[in-house]
Symmetry: C2
Subunit: 245 residues, 2 copies
Amino acid sequence: MPSDEPDDKPITRSVRGSGRRLRGAVAHYLGTAIVSGQIAPGETLSGEIANAEALDVSRSAYREAVQVLTAKGLVESRPKAGTRVLPRSRWNILDPAVLAWAFAAEPDVAFVRDIFELRAVVEPAAARFAAERRDKDDIKAMREALAKMKRHTLATEAGRMADREFHDALLRATHNDAMIALSASISAAVSWTTEFKQRSRALPRDPVPDHAKVCDAIAAGDPDAAAAAMRTLVDLALEDTRLSM
Amino acid sequence: MPSDEPDDKPITRSVRGSGRRLRGAVAHYLGTAIVSGQIAPGETLSGEIANAEALDVSRSAYREAVQVLTAKGLVESRPKAGTRVLPRSRWNILDPAVLAWAFAAEPDVAFVRDIFELRAVVEPAAARFAAERRDKDDIKAMREALAKMKRHTLATEAGRMADREFHDALLRATHNDAMIALSASISAAVSWTTEFKQRSRALPRDPVPDHAKVCDAIAAGDPDAAAAAMRTLVDLALEDTRLSM
DNA sequence: CGCTGCAAATTGCCTGACAACTTGCCAAGA
DNA sequence: TCTTGGCAAGTTGTCAGGCAATTTGCAGCG
């Protein structure tokens, strides 16, 4: 046996940003490989021992990573058959991690379209519910996030975080856990696209007035106005994103 | 040390219905315990070695089960701190498995309300998209499912499966992957409640005409009519479910 | 009172081995 | 030739034990 290779393969080991466990790195590696299509549905991964060795991790770490993928519906493994990639239709694409993997690589335009269509359906309805059920704390949280958005802009990371905070506060105002969970996923995906918009060109529109309109309508308890304002907000966002892709 | 206990604890081992792996049983056990509130958010599970021993499984199997829960946002584990249950807001409640666990125990009424509200938002919109984009195959699939629903009734398992097939076909007709994934989760949840309805009393309404109306509107390519028909369908389902709880 | 460093406890990862379960082949029979 | 049955091999599934990494909480110090 020759000694060993210097450090050619630690593809996953080098990505461990402190908080990230080794199995997380492996899961990220495999997850992006699958979602990006490098490992097409129907294909079967090479055996655990071989693959674990190739990634330079133990079988346990590798297996725990595969369990994560299984939990998200990306793969399925059976004795003697190996673990194979499931068809797209069985993926939990609304899972935050899967969305993150999808946007880590080049995001598919059709997929972005799908996400925005869903957003266009859910968010106006959420705004309507929020207008009917919000309480004082909800309004306060939204106003604060809006102020932060105004201070920083969407060009900064702090500004984008304020944007997410605004939408999160709006969702919490619906007092509907299912809607909160869903739009949390969507918002995450949308924030990735926001970064793309910034990267490609300076964004021509000031988003604060549109957000303020939504906020005011919700605070006033006007469901129709809130839904309408949110609808135009989403439409504009879709327009901007479409231009930059 | 006395010899050993006969078989008091195999709480998880006995549930392995062939296709179900051991770690799956453990995940199911812990998942339901968490979702049903037996292990409240904020609490920390006892150590891996202790817990694995209590469930009479190896540490690896237990750990792989915990990875599944982690992937679904139910728990988070860090060295020295133990693995603790995350607040509800971080759960992926739209994950099919989590939904199944939620309905395995007594389903929370507030939660069912949330699901139906989301359904009332998404499904009509899905019907609208379907009316715009459906092709010949989509219509055929819907018609066939509808026929099957008519033959069997919702009182039989076959009938409920046909109901799911109808909704699945409708969703595929939207040609929007995000919407398909979302409503697949919702439909699963809804089918649990359908079983409840059947269990509590004979259902007074024949659901076939309502479904047929949706189907016809989509086949005719009339988005507004499809959305309206679906809206009444969901409203009626909500009404029935509300009565039986 | 605040801060710094240390030590313990818990998870994270590794190794090696055996069991369980499928799958696919192969042979025997209709 | 087609079907059916069993058999063997190969892959994942589970187990056991040990060591390393990391974080928390405390204790001691400034």
